[in-house]
Each structure stands twice: as C-alpha cells, then as structure tokens.
Symmetry: C2
Subunit: 342 residues, 2 copies
C-alpha cells in the first residue's frame, strides 16, 4: 500500500506501550483524503521525520507536551507539498514544514506552517540539520554549554543528527571533542568524516575506562541526550564548573519502570555539588526565542555552504515502514538523521 | 579540661569515619602553645563554627577541597582574639575571623584573616549570618535561584543558618516560602518567628503529600541543601523553568555506601529535562567573587539593622563538646546556627 491520489493512509496510536513499542502500539488505517475548505490548503507528505521524543508522546506520564490520544494520528514534523491552496503565501507545488503527523495528507490553515519555497535544494534538511535537531545542537551547546577553546566536550549519540552537529560546532569553537556511539562503523564515521578527536563505543565492556583515557583533562561540557551508563561514565570525569545541557535521555525512554539500585541520586547530586556543575534541561522551542533561531539559521547556512558542517541522513522508504524504523532509532540501529520518504 | 593560658588543646582527625563519626573519629590532644615569630601573631579561639561541610572533609573521596589528613587538626572557621601581634593591621585584643580549626591557639601571618575590630557587637555572627552560611544563602538564592515575586520557594533545613536566611530573603522578595524542618518546635519557629508561609515536618509519614498541599502552585525555586527524601518529594512538584541551587546534601553525607534502589537517576534527569530545570552546584567562595560579597555584606547589614532578617544561634560550651555537637548537627538535632564557645 503506497501513497495514492485517492485515499489517505495514516498511522494512529492504538495502545500505550510498556517499554519498547511493539506491533500493537501503532495501527495503519486508510481513510478518505480530507477536503480543504475556504482559507485552507491540502498538504501531501513527502518526508516524515523520526525523532526520539516520539516515544515520550506515546506515554501519558506528565511531560512537557500533551501525549498523543489513543486513536489519534501519531505526532510528527513533515516536509509536505501543497496540493491545493486557499491560503495566502502558499502556492500549489510549494514545499512546507508542517506538523502533519504520520499520514499522507493533511489540511491546514497555514498556522505554524513554514514555506520552504517551490524548489528547496534539500527539502528534507528542514527536518534535520536546518530544523529541530540542528537548532537543538546549536542552542544547547552554545547557550547552555558555553564551550571555550581548549575545553573538552563530550557528546553521546555522536553519529545522530543532534550529536554530530554538537561535535562539529564544538570543533569549530576550538574544543577537544569526544563522541560516544554504538559500534565501530559509527565511531569511524564520527572521527574520519566529522572530525571528532575520538569516539568511544558505548557497547565496549571497558567503556568507562576508554572514556577516561580519551579525556585526559577531564570533561568541561557534557551534552546529555542519552542518560544511562553513558551519564554514569561521564560523572566522575567532570571538571569544576562543568556544564551539562540536557535535551534527551533515549537510553531511559523505554523503561517500563525504574532500574534496579543502587540509587545513583547521591552520585548525581554529589557531583553537581562538589564540581559546581550547571545542569540545565531545555526543550528547544520553549527555551529559546526567535532571536536565537535567526542566529542559528544564518550561522548554520554559512557552515554548510562552506563545508564546515557535514550532515548525514538515513532515508527509509514508505510510511508503512515508519514504526519499525522508529524502533531502530530508539534502539540505536539508525545511522544519521532518520527520515521516512512517504 | 578548659581553655588555659599555658597549654593548647586541639582536636585532630584520628580515623576516617564510615557513616556517622564516632568516638574513634576525633581525638583531643594537649600540646604546647605555639610561638609567634617575626611577622606573625598568636590567636586565641573564642568561637568555633560547626558546619555540615566538615563531614565531607573527614572523607578522602574526591571533593571540592582537600580532605583533612589523619593526625591533623580538624578544619574549621573560628572567631579568635589576638594575643600578641607582629602583623600590621592586627592589634592585641582585636577580634578576627580565621581558619584556625578545632584548637585553642594558632599562629598566623595574617593571610586570609579578617579583622573584625576590637569591639564587634556580635563577634560570633561572623561565623553565621554575616559569614559563610549567610553569604551562601544570599548568593545561592539570588544569583542562581533568581526568585521572582509571587513564585514559590522551598528550602529545607529551614531553621538552620542557611535555610532560615534563604527563606527570609525570599519573603523580602515577595515569594511564597515553604520551609522543611525536623519536628514541630522547629516548624513553629520557622513560621511564627521567621515569617515563612508554611513549614513541613520531614519526619511526618505523609511528608510528600503535605509538601504538595503547601505548594498549590508548584515549586519555582528549590534551594537544595539536604538531598534524600526531601529532594524526591520536591521533584514531582517543580514547575517549568524551575531553578535549583545546590549547596549541600546533609541527608546523604553519612552514607557508608549508595542507598538501595531503585535508581532514581531517570527521575532526577527526566524532571530536569521535561521541566527545563536549571540545577547548579556552588561552593560559595569558589563560585562568587568579591563584588557579590560586598553586595551581600551591605544588604544583610541593613536587613539585620532593620529587623527584617532574624538570626538564631545555638551556643555549645567547651571545645571538648564539639565532636558530639557536630553529630547533633549532622543528625538534625541542632536548632539555629551552631557555634562552640571555646
């Protein structure tokens, strides 16, 4: 069942998962194509972004955003093309960035939809390096992490869209950059193609010892997006006045309950105290305003044009393959920014 | 054995404690009075300050300060009087603030010694409201906590010298202030004498529920100085963009090892992420410079003179009683800033 001109496929949340999403979590449905009325436009999805935060929206635990309701289309950012438009500023054929979710078609009045123009060079990049993940990396690292030349910056999920960008920006700022990724292939990419100083495989038995060896002067900035054993390996290496921007904890997203003990609370809080660490959580569009976004867009456009920042995508073909691809992402089997070509 | 003109009593670290210090941890010794040479002065201790950080200095775990060596005099701030002086700016009879430690007499060249004058109104206050605890409360709350009028501020150890000051300053800034203390007497003092809006007894079985009831609008600033179950009761109540200055965790200082599970790491880090919390550890004289100290000294002097900030001391008589008094402090049995009249 591929995208068609006569019906709409959509993937809805069928039940809330315990742990990793399974076959019962999401359900593919077929409906009529919705009709755009006066002042509305019809959008046809081209690319759907897959991101770790989606696991959070499947849960009804207290969080920073409303959970997806049961039976509702899974939330997600897409790049779409305008099919018909009665909205000022949007013409047939324009590419747009929209929150249409996991489906082929959606109707919009243009609210919170960004027009990318009729012929963007890389339309899918609006979901990655020029969009939420790139902006998260930029603002989290520079505004909270405040890296200084000569300092050591550590980032996990280093081959992912956020981690790869964090590390490349930190290199541009003159830092020693150590990535953490899963497996030799990803680590080689991070060092050879992205220019990190080192990359440690978190699957290694002696991960903590390798990390220590790679950070002979300790760690000044840890960009936290995974939690778990990576966090616990980083804590003993933090330097006085270290900074830790926190934008995710993918290692802990699929927990059905709290992990067994011991309770690491005293280690986390004790390190924060003794080392005078600043730990700050952020949700990119809540925590930073339009001025920061403009600064990011201008600077990142320049870095990409100059080849100073490189960007890797993994394109999955077909909306029907999105659920399995999301699990690959949550379990560390993706490589680069994951988008679904719908 | 009381303070004498002919010999020096000193209390040294005899062995590193596991858990709470016991009879073997500290040892009272008698030595000759040291001799002040050229360019030096002899100081005679009047008041010794007892503070929670002292437990940390007994351990050789990696920390923000060097541990006390075995056989060495226990570290501590004192108010002393000058006996003889060959140091410019210090005359016989002057009161001084000095790091002489747990002993009757010490020799100093004047380095890092503050002259309080010949007749200070309240010499011991230099160890409390006008010294390290008062400054910790002031800078941690205002510079990291950044409380705004109408916000809710929570502070534990609310009858202690730091917590009591935090709460009173937060009231001056127009906040709703909820204290946490151990027992009905301390809680009554905090509300009736210090003017907090509420105070919860952390020994109550339904502590977390009481805390929630006392914070109907959530918590915007949590001044963290205890850790443990108080921290875990606070986390679910934190509002978006809450701030958490961290200056201590007395509930966890005497741990012989990590507490049993579950591991609360995902709860701590998850709250920081979802609620976009800023958690920042600080060590007062490392984290803030002389400008902040001047601002504190001027503002606090005014508040005390105007009766806007109240201060409570618990004076213990005799150096020989200091070890037992420190344990009272560590176990929450002190009431007000604890000083030993040597």
């Amino acid at each position: 069942m591929t995208q068609s001109d006569t019906s709409n496929r959509r993937i809805v949340l069928a039940e809330r998962p315990q742990g990793l999403p399974d076959d019962n979590t999401l359900r593919l449905e077929q409906t009529d194509i919705p009709t755009a009325g006066a002042g509305e436009m019809l959008l046809r999805t081209v690319y759907l972004s897959l991101d770790p935060y989606m696991r959070g929206r499947m849960s009804d635990a207290k969080s920073y955003a409303e959970p997806v309701k049961l039976g509702e289309v899974m939330t997600g950012q897409v790049v779409a093309q305008v099919v018909t438009s009665d909205v000022k500023g949007f013409a047939e054929g324009d590419y747009v960035l929209s929150g249409s979710g996991w489906q082929d078609y959606a109707v919009s009045n243009g609210d919170q939809v960004l027009n990318l123009g009729a012929d963007p060079a890389n339309p899918s990049w609006a979901l990655g390096i020029m969009g939420m993940p790139g902006y998260t990396a930029y603002a989290g690292l520079l505004k909270i992490g405040e890296p200084k030349a000569g300092e050591t910056v550590v980032v996990a999920a280093a081959s992912g869209p956020v981690g790869a960008t964090v590390g490349q920006i930190a290199k541009l700022k003159g830092c020693r950059v150590v990535g953490i990724a899963g497996g030799a292939e990803k680590c080689a990419h991070v060092v050879d193609n992205l220019g990190f100083d080192a990359c440690i495989d978190h699957k290694a038995d002696d991960f903590a010892a390798q990390l220590k060896d790679a950070c002979p002067d300790g760690i000044d900035v840890y960009f936290e997006n995974v939690g778990g054993k990576v966090l616990y390996g980083v804590l003993p290496l933090l330097n006085p006045f270290a900074r830790m921007p926190v934008c995710g904890m993918v290692a802990w997203y699929n927990l059905p309950g709290l992990p067994d003990g011991p309770d690491m609370g005293p280690v986390i809080m004790g390190t924060i105290l003794r080392m005078k660490v600043k730990v700050q959580g952020f949700i990119i569009f809540d925590s930073f305003g339009p001025e920061t976004y403009k600064e990011f867009a201008a600077e990142m456009t320049g870095w990409l044009a100059d080849g100073k920042v490189k960007y890797k995508e993994q394109v999955v073909d077909g909306l029907e393959n999105a659920p399995a691809a999301l699990n690959d992402l949550l379990e560390g089997r993706s490589f680069g920014k994951m988008v679904v070509k719908v």
